[in-house]
Amino acid sequence: MSKPLIVGAVAYTPNVVNIWEGMRGYFADGPAPMDFVLFSNYGSLVDALLDGTLDIAWNTNLAWVRTVGRTQGACRALAMRDTDAVFQTLFVARPGSGLSGLADLKGRRLALGSRDSAQAAILPVHYLGEAGLGADEVELVRINSDVGKHGDTGRSELDALRAVLDDRADAAALGINTWEAIGREELMPGAFEVFWESPTYSHCNFTALPRLSEERTRPWVERLFAMDWDNPEHRPILEMEGLRQWVPPRLAGYDSLFEAVRTQGISDRW
């Protein structure tokens, strides 16, 4: 049996242990066994990938952009969740707030999540720019309650929603996963409504460096794609990880974040 591939991830919740134990168990029976190492933040994860501690990193989109930057584009994405290929940022407000598009945010207060969250801070600022709103035309209420974890905990997005409820902000930007988690507008009618949806973009992916050969990654990726939602043994792992199917990476989905990082002057390092 070949040496296990070491996959790194960030432990943004204790449940991450269950997810990766499940993954390790799934790969143990196949041709490409894996083990995992957990980090407390994406800075350390990417450092460990670059210094060779890890074979593969489960990166957020910002971690991917930074890995591309620090490897001059030599790294490669192996796979992502179906949900990663169609991620979105939503702008929400209380019903009746008079907001019906990004332009309406002029002169209003927008709550953003942690500054290293692509979905709740970096891309929202990018979308404001695309909508022609200058840096000082919207009052940004920044809530950095989970910095280091790239917004994975959802904590800062929940705090942004609380800011809207408490009238400390007129609107909040959040990832579609958090919006789903609170039950969209259906569970609490009258609490929040979406007034603008971003185009879809790509979120997490498995990232490897050229050092790891295709021969090593191919059987692992094939086995990954063989996880089956209809198989009762695979299903719990997929449910915990929030997907129905692993898919090839959609690289075009990172273009907006590359541009946002460039225009906002966000560094490759931490």
Binding site: N15, L158, G183, L187
Partner: protein, 326 residues
């Protein structure tokens, strides 16, 4: 806002673990809807605090074999009086106990509703059912609906009671007769002098009348290892091995020692008496295990037993989460 708190708290624990959030009673339905939608489980709401498990807990019924599913069998206590006064009787029966008869009308209705509710076997017990003058009518009502077992001490197969037995249908009725040992002691010590011999005679007679006979033995836990001579004796009486039911003594009724059985540790066996529906036949005389006073509709009572079983298991699982084994 409770949903934001829940999303945040659930995010900080692993699958299977539980969190609690203060809950305004007005938000109860909202929390239930959120759990249903997001695949988490509302364990309970007590004193304004909701306990929610991340993910779905194990299905409490999935751990049970099909024959253990609550509602597979229906036990009916036909009466509580008995010609014996065994010292461990779990319902304190004796010649002096009040009869508290269920009666032919209720037995008939229960049998019919049981068949409709998916019950697959009826079990008649007491007390000593053969003390009832209309026991053959009760049995006929049951066997017309479902295969039935009649529990008896086997000592009354004489005269009009033997005639009643002969009117019962051996194709639809099995008899279950208690015998505690392969020789008179300790059976006679617990049940009365001479009772062992009369029970053995009763077993032989019932077999000769063409009935399938199951022998049930109630043993103190420390005697459970002395089983082989017992099985050999029952083999000699022509009792099939699967009909040799040997069980530990329950600590209920007048029994002074035995295993402690509680609602939480007993898989329910829906049990009806003249007083109500109980969790299990060993506790049919104990109001701490009363499920409902309403016998009808029977299906609702069975549903309530299932609901309580599922809730108890989920609560026990949640409590176990608080004390992880080191």
């Amino acid at each position: 806002m409770v949903i934001l708190d829940l999303v945040e708290r659930i995010g900080t624990v692993a699958d299977g673990a539980t969190v609690t959030v203060p809950l305004d009673p007005a938000d109860g339905a909202l929390v239930a809807a959120w759990c249903a939608r997001t695949g988490n489980e509302l364990v309970d709401v007590v004193d304004g605090v909701a306990t929610v498990r991340r993910g779905r807990g194990p299905d409490p019924f999935a751990e049970l074999s099909p024959w253990q599913l609550p509602g597979t069998r229906l036990w009916m206590y036909t009466n509580f009086d008995c010609n014996l006064a065994c010292d461990y009787c779990c319902v304190r029966s004796s010649p002096h106990a009040r009869r508290r008869a269920l009666g032919a009308d209720r037995v008939r209705r229960l049998a019919t509703e049981a068949a409709a509710a998916g019950v697959s076997e009826l079990i008649l017990t007491g007390g000593e059912p053969l003390l009832l003058p209309d026991i053959d009518d009760l049995v006929a009502a049951c066997t017309a609906a479902l295969p039935t077992t009649l529990l008896t001490n086997g000592m009354l197969f004489r005269g009009r009671r033997l005639d009643a037995l002969r009117r019962m249908d051996p194709a639809r009725l099995a008899l279950q007769i208690s015998l505690d040992s392969p020789e008179p002691e300790p059976h006679d010590r617990h049940r009365g002098r001479g009772t062992w011999q009369r029970a053995v005679d009763g077993i032989r007679l019932a077999r000769a009348e063409g009935f399938r006979v199951r022998v049930a033995a109630t043993l103190p836990p420390e005697q459970l290892h002395t089983l082989e001579p017992f099985h050999a004796f029952l083999d000699g009486l022509g009792i099939a091995r699967e009909d040799q039911v040997i069980r530990p003594l329950a600590r209920r009724g007048v029994a002074e020692s035995g295993l402690e059985l509680t609602v939480e540790s007993l898989i329910p066996e829906v049990t009806v008496t003249a007083e109500g529906v109980y969790w299990h036949p060993v506790s049919a005389d104990h109001d701490d295990q009363l499920v409902t006073r309403e016998l009808f509709p029977l299906e609702a009572a069975i549903e309530e037993v299932r609901r309580r079983f599922a809730a108890d298991r989920r609560r026990a699982d949640a409590a176990a989460q608080w004390f992880p084994c080191a």
